[in-house]
Amino acid sequence: MTSGEVLLEVHDLVQEFVLRDFGGTKGGVLQAVAGVSLELHVGETLGIVGETGSGKSTLARSVIQAPPPKRGQVIFQGQDLVKLSGRALKSARRNLQMVFQDPFTSLDPRWTVTRLVEEPLVAYAEGDRQERRTRVSELLDLVGLDPERHGGRHPHELSGGQCQRVAVARALALNPKLILCDEPVSSLDVLVQAQVLNLFEKLREELGLSYLFIAHDLALVRQVSDRVAVMYLGKLCEVGPVQSLFAEPLHPYTFALLNSIPSPDPTVGRRDTASVISGELPSPLDPPSGCRFRTRCPRAEGRCAAEVPELRELTNGRFVACHFPLPAREAVAADGKAPDPVVAVAPAPLWPAEPNGAG
């Protein structure tokens, strides 16, 4: 699917929020995204994983200019969105749509499904009323909703999965090239989540869409992505093709994340307690100097505090921001099947056992 043509390019993106104490005095500046660069190709799905406070959602919001970032460039289809405003931004953003996390709050509770899906068409003055209604029916069909049955309903009369389908239909209305998905299935139940994930796959194949897919669930990101970017405290730790990144993580944080996932396979058993990442996420108001992960990293040394590790290409297509990346093992097994990272990389020397005094 990937044609190699760059669709979205983000350069050194910085987004800050001024925090105010009660009464409005300035409490501090929170750098939610601290210089992120990445690119996304036509037909590609780029997954972004990270925990709460990693800035992944802020990144998506900044890309779509809601609100615009403090610094940096967001080049979408050759235009820097950060420089645009008003009408120009509106027309540039046409091919860039977003699906939000909570399907209920992202739909106006007082509007009907038809009207909600029609809204972008009205805003961009697409066709007359009749044409728009036809298009809405097509879209609802496409996402697996019955225009007759569901079109007149309000969001609260639908299930979470159905609401998310409406949100997807709405995002598709203008035939966008790229859809930003901000945790689009994390509030859904497992079975519904699978249905919606499959819908995303189907649309990708049929319409040639590209996705920027944000999630905290690594397994889920693996399922949908071609490449994955791992974020920690507003910075990228590691970017790489999904299979090799999951098979042999280079950044200690990626390794820790992978190791924390409970596997639905009891034969794997309870992993070694020592491999569980210790400590707490530092305050984003006052991030650690140098490498932001160093306070929790078992491999951290003096250099990590002094020097910010740049994101560099280590092997083919594998980028990592770490002074002491985990050694890349030899080639992936010949059958192309990724070995289970938990089993494969667990042996001790990479991850020296530490006293488990959290913090």
């Binding site: 104490d21 009660f22 009464g23 409005g24 005095t25 305050s283 984003p284």
Partner: protein
């Protein structure tokens, strides 16, 4: 404050304390609030000045009466600088205020400051007395209502609250006077004894007006607090945690929910303090209390601009200070505000 805070600060006392004080959110908040109040207060005085001058009618004819000759009015106007342009007069007045001089009343030789100095304590006492009555009645009542929602106490309090919110102060005042003053002669109908002259006499004259002022508030605060308590008890997770510990409902209500509900109540009190101050005008009129509201009515009908300006300024400052006090109280009640966020 807490033992932990003192334990911590023992080692770095003295200058550390000063630094902490300077960095205290409460101080920064107060400073910011007072600074931002200045343009607001200026706006208030400008608005009232413009209003009093732009609207038809003037002090000279109001004070001298219908029979005054044009010549008399002219000389009166010149004497009081009423013939000068609007902006000049406002400039004079504002310059006076900045040097602490509120001017002199047009109707009497008294200075505005001394008039306010005499009248303000009466109004202040009325408001505080009314607030005390309100809290003493409505907090226990709301807790009782919330303990058994839709129970007998709750339902009867609902009816009473509705009535008390809906009753106009002048109606209530009249009927309380008929009952307590005329019929039973417990309290005097009108008149005022100052606190300095006789405490008992003061309470005797102030109780009825304070009750009139308090009754709508009691209804309002009881309903609000009750609704918030019930909401906390029904939908807050920490209440479930407390129940799961085996804590009794009474204890959850009084130790856990009440404090959290006070935070909401504070917002409401802050919002309707200005209205409360307005209501004193009516109550003072009914009971002929020599408060600031009573004076205000006179000054308005006399077009006594300096007095009105002074009173408006005092009311404005009162509202600003009251809001600041509410905000500071938030800090006391809500630790999320008291402590600077260590984490996000």
């Amino acid at each position: 404050m807490s033992t932990s805070a003192s334990v911590q600060s023992v080692s770095r006392s003295g200058s550390a304390f000063a630094r902490r004080l300077a960095g205290s959110p409460a101080l920064r908040l107060s400073g910011r609030r007072l600074l931002s109040a200045i343009p607001v207060l200026w706006g208030v005085t400008l608005l009232s000045f413009l209003m009093l001058n732009a609207l038809p009618g003037d002090a000279a004819s109001a004070l001298l009466g219908i029979n005054a000759t044009p010549a008399e009015i002219r000389s009166f106007s010149i004497k009081l600088h009423l013939n000068e342009p609007l902006w000049t007069r406002y400039g004079h007045w504002l310059a006076g205020v900045l040097t602490g001089n509120l001017g002199t009343s047009l109707a009497s030789p008294q200075s505005v400051a001394s008039i306010i100095g005499q009248r303000l304590p009466v109004t202040l006492e009325l408001v505080i007395y009314a607030l005390i009555i309100t809290f003493v009645v409505s907090v226990p009542l709301a807790v009782l209502c919330a303990r058994w929602p839709r129970g007998v106490i709750d339902q009867s309090s609902l009816v009473l609250s509705m009535a008390s919110i809906s009753v106009a102060p002048y109606v209530l005042g009249l009927f309380l006077v008929i009952l307590f003053a005329v019929h039973w002669s417990i309290f005097p109908a009108i008149g005022y004894t100052s606190l300095g002259a006789s405490v008992a006499g003061n309470l005797h004259t102030m109780t009825l007006p304070s009750i009139v002022l308090a009754i709508p508030l009691i209804g309002f605060y009881t309903r609000f607090l009750r609704a918030d308590l019930v909401e906390q008890m029904q939908s807050e997770d920490y209440v479930v945690t407390a129940r799961a510990k085996g804590v009794s409902e009474w204890r959850i209500l009084t130790r856990h929910a009440l404090r959290n509900s006070f935070i909401g109540l504070l917002t409401v009190i802050g919002l309707n303090l200005a209205t409360l101050i307005g209501a004193t005008v009516i109550v003072e009129e009914i009971f002929s209390l020599p408060g600031i509201g009573f004076e205000l009515l006179n000054a308005i009908s006399n077009r006594d601009v300096p007095v009105v300006e002074g009173i408006v300024l005092v009311f404005g400052i009162a509202v600003v200070l009251a809001n600041l006090a509410t905000d500071l109280l938030y800090g006391v009640l809500d630790p999320r505000i008291r402590h600077v966020r260590a984490r996000s």
